[in-house]
Amino acid sequence: MSIKKLYKAVSFLLFLIILSTHLSGQVDTTEINKLFGMDLEELMNQKVVTASKFIQSSAEAASSVGVITADEIKQYGYRSLAEALNSQRGMFMSNDKNYMYVGSRGFSRPTDYNNRIVVMIDGHIANEVVYGSSFMDNNLGINLDNVERIEIIRGPGASIYGSGAMLNIVNLIMKKGEDTDGLTVSAGTGSYGRNDLSAIYGKKKNNTDISVSGIGGISRGENYYFSELDAPETNNGVSSGMDWEKYIGFQTGITHNNLKISAAYSSRSKGIPTGAFDSDLTGNVESSDTRYYLEASYRKEINKNSSLLFRSYFDGYNYHGSYPLNGEESFDESDGRWGGAEIQYYLEAGKRSVITAGVEYKYIFRDDYREWDNSTTYFNKNYPFSFFSVYAQDQIKILKNLALTAGLRYDQYSVYGKAFSPRLALVYMYSDVSSLKLLYGEAFRIPNLYETYYEGIGIHKANSAIRPERIRTTEFDWTHKISGSFYGNFSLYLFSIYNLIDQVLDESDGLTTFSNIGKATGTGVEYELRYKHPVSKNQAYLSLSLQKTVDNNSDKTLSNSPSLLVKSGFVLSVSKYINVVPEFFYETGRKTLQGNKTGNVSLFNLGINSGMFLKHFEASLKARNLFNIKYYSPGGYEHVQDELVQDSRNIYFKLTAHF
C-alpha cells in the first residue's frame, strides 16, 4: 500500500469514527424503562459501568496502560488472548500453526514462545518456568467470557514481577461469582471443523463468592501445500489433516472474606502441519502442553491505611512433542514444577505517599528436558533452581497533580546471579482523565533451560556462558480526553535490549546455539483514538503505530518486525436487535530470517451480534479474514519455509444461554 493509499484508508477510518459519534445509535428503551421502574434501593444496588473509569485509572497509572473490557471482548467476539491483544496499539500476531505469538512495539523473535511477555490470571503468573513461555491461544485454557477485563501494561515491569516482564504485562482479571450470578453455557461451531463448549457458574452467598469456568473444543484445521517441502519423502509438500487441535481448560476462584483460593488447569494438543524441526507432513506430529496451578492468598488489614498480603502457590507444567522423521518416531518432553510464597506490605503513609514492598521466594524443583527415539535417549537432564526477591515501590505526590513513582526489585538467582530492576514514573494529571507521563524502566529475562543447556547431537550445542538479557525503556505518554466520549492516547518510546538472546549458527562447527548476540534498539510512536457512545452500544477504536527495531550489530531491521500498524474496529448498533462489528487491520511486511520480506497485509473481519432472545439466549456470528486474503508471517528457525501462510477466511457462530 502506498503512502497515498494509506492516507486515504486512515482518513476513511477516521471519517467512520467521526460519523459513528454523530449517529445516535439505537438506544435500548426497554432497559431504560426497567431502570426507571426501579425504586431507590434497587437503583443503589445496580452495578455501574463507568465510561471514564478505565480511562481515569489508565491516566493515573504509573505506566502506559491499555484495557480491554468484558463488553469489548463480547462485542468484538475475541476468541483468544492473542486476538484481543491484536486490537491494541503496537501489538501484532504471528501463527506458526503450532503456537500463537504476540509481538509488541516491533519486537517479536521467531519461536520465542512469548517469553518476554508476562501473562497473569488474577495476578498469578501464568508463564511456565521451563521455557518462560506464555500462552496466547487455546493453550491458555481460559474462557474469555469469564474475563472482567484484560489490563495491558506496556514496557518493563520487572521491578514488581521479575524475570520475563520485558515487553508487556498482561493481566486477565476474572469475573467474580457475584458478577455472573447464575449459569452461562455457550456452544460454538465454525470453519475447519471447529466446535467448542464453554460454561461459567458464579454465585455469592453471605461472604463467600464462587466462580467456576471451563472451556473445551476441537478443530480439524486447514490443509496446506508447501512448495519448499515438495519432495516424495515429505508427502510432495501436501499437509492434510495435520492442523488439528483439541483443548480443555478450567479456572476457579473462591473468596471468603479476605481469603482467596484460585486454581486453573489447561491442556491442549495441537497437530503440527508445517514440517517443523524436520518432521514429516504425515503421521503423529504434535505438541501437547498441560499447565496447572493452585494459589491461596490472604489479606490481613492492619489498620485503615495498611495491609499485609500473604500468598503461596504451587504450579506445574508438562510439554510433550512428537516429531516423526521419515516415519521413525522421535519425541521430546519437559516437566516443570515449582512452588513459592510472597509477603507484600501496603501502606498509605499520609496523603502523599503509597508504599508497596514485598519479598518472594520461588523454588523450581523440576525443570527438565528429555529427547529420545525408540532406540536412544539423546538428552535427559533436570536443572532445578531457586530465587529470592525483595522489592519496594513508593508513589509520592509531589504536588496535588504531580506524582512520582519509584520502584526497585532485587532478584538473587541460584544459577544466574543477581539482577536489579529499577523503575521511575512521573505522572502529571491535568484533569480527571488526562495526564502526561514520563516513564523509565529496566527489566531482565534469565535464559531458560533450553537456551542454556540443550544439546542436540550434530544439530545444536549448549552455551552455559549465556547471560540474562536486559531491556531499558524510556517513554512519554499522553492520555487525554478529546471531547465527550472521545479519548486519545499518544506514546513515544525508545527501548534498548542488551545481551539479546537469540539462536545463531556457529559457522565453525555448523551447530546452532543460543547466544547473547548483542544489542537491539526499538523506537516508535503510537496514537490511539477510542470512542464509546454514552447510551447506545456504538463504539470504535483506531490506532496507528510507527515502529523501528534495529539489530545494532548489523544496523539492519530485526526480523518479524512490521514498521507500520493500523487497526480499527467499530461496534455499530444498527437496530435495537443487532450490532454490526467491522474490523480492519493493516500492517507492512516483516523481514524474514532469510532476509526476504513478507507482503503488506490488509485484513477485514465482520461480526454480527444479536440481542437477547427467548429470554435466555444470545447469538453471534463472526467472519475473520472476510475477503480470504492470503498473507504470511516469517517462519522460525525450525521451519524450512521462510514464510508461513496465516489463517484463511473462517466463520464462527456462537450461541449462548444465560440461566
Binding site: 435500548d28 459501568v49 447510551v535 435495537k576 437477547m612
Partner: protein, 182 residues
C-alpha cells in the same frame, strides 16, 4: 476445504442473519453511569419539594440544565425525550454560567464548573434550583446532591445545610438512603 466453505455459503449466512433479526429482542443493558444518574434524577424529584418562590413551578415544563454539552447532556436529552418528571415534559438545556440557573429546576454541574462552584451554589440557593453533581468534593462545597461510586455502585450524598438554605424540603425516605453532609 471447498466443502467447508459451502457449509458457510453466503446464502446460509444471510439466512442465519435474518433468523437472528427475527428472533431477537433488544440487547440486555449495560447500566452505564449516566443512564443510572438519569434514573436517579427522576426518582429523586419525587422526594423533593421545591421552594415556593420557584417561578418555574407553574410551568408545564421541567427544565434540567447541564453546564457543559457533555455525554451527560446527550444522555439526558436522549432519555427524557420520552420521560416526564412530575407529569411535566422535560427540557434539557446547556448552561454556561450561574446567572442562567433561574431558568432551571435542576442543574447538573460537571467537574469543569469547579472554579465557579461557590457562585453556582449561591445562585442556586437564591433561585431555588436543585444542584446535582458527580464530582468528589462538590457535596462539601455546597452542591445539594452529589453522586459518588462505592463498590462499583452509584450512591449519593446530600448537603443538608445547603438544601435547607435553598428552601428545599427533602423527604425523610430520601435522607434515609443517603450519606448526609452536615
Amino acid at each position: 476445504m471447498g466443502k467447508n466453505l459451502n457449509r458457510y455459503s453466503p446464502a446460509r449466512m444471510v439466512f442465519i442473519a435474518i433468523l437472528l433479526l427475527v428472533l431477537t429482542r433488544p440487547l440486555s443493558a449495560q447500566y452505564n453511569e449516566n443512564v443510572i444518574k438519569a434514573a436517579y434524577i427522576e426518582r429523586i424529584t419525587r422526594f423533593v419539594e421545591w421552594p415556593v418562590h420557584d417561578s418555574l413551578l407553574l410551568s408545564d415544563k421541567f427544565v434540567i440544565g447541564v453546564n457543559e454539552e457533555s455525554d451527560f447532556y446527550y444522555t439526558l436529552t436522549e432519555i427524557f425525550k420520552e420521560k416526564m418528571i412530575k407529569d411535566r415534559r422535560v427540557i434539557i438545556i446547556p448552561i454556561k454560567g450561574p446567572e442562567q440557573l433561574t431558568n432551571c429546576n435542576i442543574c447538573y454541574l460537571s467537574e469543569n464548573s469547579k472554579p465557579l462552584i461557590r457562585n453556582f451554589v449561591s445562585a442556586a440557593n437564591s433561585s431555588g434550583t436543585l444542584l446535582i453533581s458527580g464530582t468528589t468534593g462538590f457535596g462539601k462545597a455546597g452542591v445539594h446532591i452529589n453522586f459518588y461510586l462505592e463498590d462499583e455502585k452509584l450512591k449519593f450524598e446530600i448537603n443538608e445545610k445547603s438544601v435547607g438554605l435553598a428552601g428545599f424540603k427533602v423527604s425523610y425516605l430520601l435522607m434515609q438512603n443517603t450519606r448526609i453532609i452536615k
